[in-house]
């Protein structure tokens, strides 16, 4: 589920960081900039893996910090299609269930990818799989094994400011920049407890 991506960027080291070694300062800058952030079409950046090339650095006229051009490798979360992963059920609705892996939440299993014979139980608020006379509940927070079908990258540029200015005060939910569409329809998929 993790890949190594080679990036090149120019980062700045401010004077308060001069006490660190060049490597440490750059690693900290890279992590501050990329950790837990989604790069479009790349995935969720986790942490820097190593630095490949560092140039001498230059100080811009009238600035007090050093700009350093670095070539580095970063660990990115980007599962491939058909990969099998394990997560926990976060929430359920008639449209399907949402799964979380802790560090990554935007995993959807739509209703048509649930096991054949399952349906949403509105009173309990969870999905139920009716299999061979048994009622198997997909309770929240249960560990679940799923197959990745597709990943979706959305361009989330900041919205243009509205004319006349004021926020309505209601939080707007933005679509996630990176989400996975998955399935639990198949032998071995679904709650881990079903297959033990």
């Amino acid at each position: 589920m993790f890949v190594l991506v080679v990036l090149q960027d120019t980062l700045k080291i401010v004077p308060s960081e001069f006490r660190k070694t060049r490597q440490d300062a750059l690693k900290d800058e890279i992590n501050a900039k990329y950790s837990n952030r989604v790069l479009h079409d790349i995935g969720l950046c986790m942490v820097v893996h190593d630095l490949l090339e560092i140039d001498e650095g230059f100080v811009q006229h009238s600035e007090g910090w050093i700009w350093v051009k670095v070539k580095f490798r970063v660990i990115v979360f980007r599962p491939f299609a058909d990969e099998i992963l394990v997560g926990r059920i976060r929430s359920a609705s008639p449209e399907g269930i949402q799964v979380t892996m802790g560090f990554f939440d935007d995993i959807q299993i739509p209703a048509d990818q649930m096991p054949v014979g399952s349906e949403f139980n509105a009173t309990e608020g969870v999905w139920v799989w009716r299999f061979e006379g048994n009622e198997l509940f997909l309770d929240l927070d249960e560990p679940i094994r799923f197959r990745v079908l597709d990943s979706l990258f959305l361009d989330v540029s900041p919205p243009r400011p509205k004319v006349g200015g004021m926020d309505s005060g209601i939080p707007v939910s933005h679509p996630p920049p990176y989400s996975l569409m998955c399935s639990i329809n198949g032998d071995g998929l679904g709650l881990l407890s079903w297959w033990e």
Partner: protein, 159 residues
């Protein structure tokens, strides 16, 4: 910012775990030495990712085991992605192998799969409880020796 290679390599969960653990140790050391605060995105990701990986089979693996099993799996005709998933998920049943290996029933016999499961069991030992207890035992004895304030902080991680 330029992307030079979108996928230079695939990493096992274990490799990522090692990198995160080293960063965590480095952060702990600098926190004590200099009392600096790391940005929220860094600490959140580190905490959540380690929490996830701590619950996965990669915690009890070692680089030696991984290179060993890679060698052993070369005898089977498996793709890179299949080998990676075997290492990450550590399947114990034929059902799990059917999920990981494409067209499994065409490429392998039932005996072949049982053999593969045996291989996985021996190359990547599954007695997590024993191994974890051993690791905790070692760590606990080290930390008790030091008695430094950081013990209080780290206890929370050993859940």
């Amino acid at each position: 910012m330029e992307v030079l290679d979108r996928q230079e390599a695939l990493l096992t969960n274990h490799e990522v775990y090692i990198v995160l653990k080293e960063e965590e140790d480095r952060h702990k050391a600098t926190k004590i030495a200099e009392n600096i605060k790391y940005p929220e995105n860094v600490t959140t990701l580190q905490f959540e990712a380690l929490q996830y990986l701590n619950d996965s089979p990669c915690v009890t693996q070692s680089s030696k085991q991984i290179s060993q099993i890679k060698e052993l799996l070369m005898a089977y005709d498996l793709t890179k992605a299949e080998v990676l998933q075997i290492i990450n998920l550590r399947p114990k049943t034929p059902v799990e192998l059917h999920l990981i290996i494409e067209e499994c029933s065409e490429r392998f016999t039932i005996e072949g799969l049982d053999e593969l499961l045996e291989l996985i069991l021996s190359a990547l030992p599954q007695d997590e409880h024993d191994e974890a207890a051993e690791d905790d035992g070692d760590e606990a004895s080290k930390k008790n020796g030091n008695g430094a304030p950081m013990d209080v902080e780290t206890q929370g991680d050993l859940s």
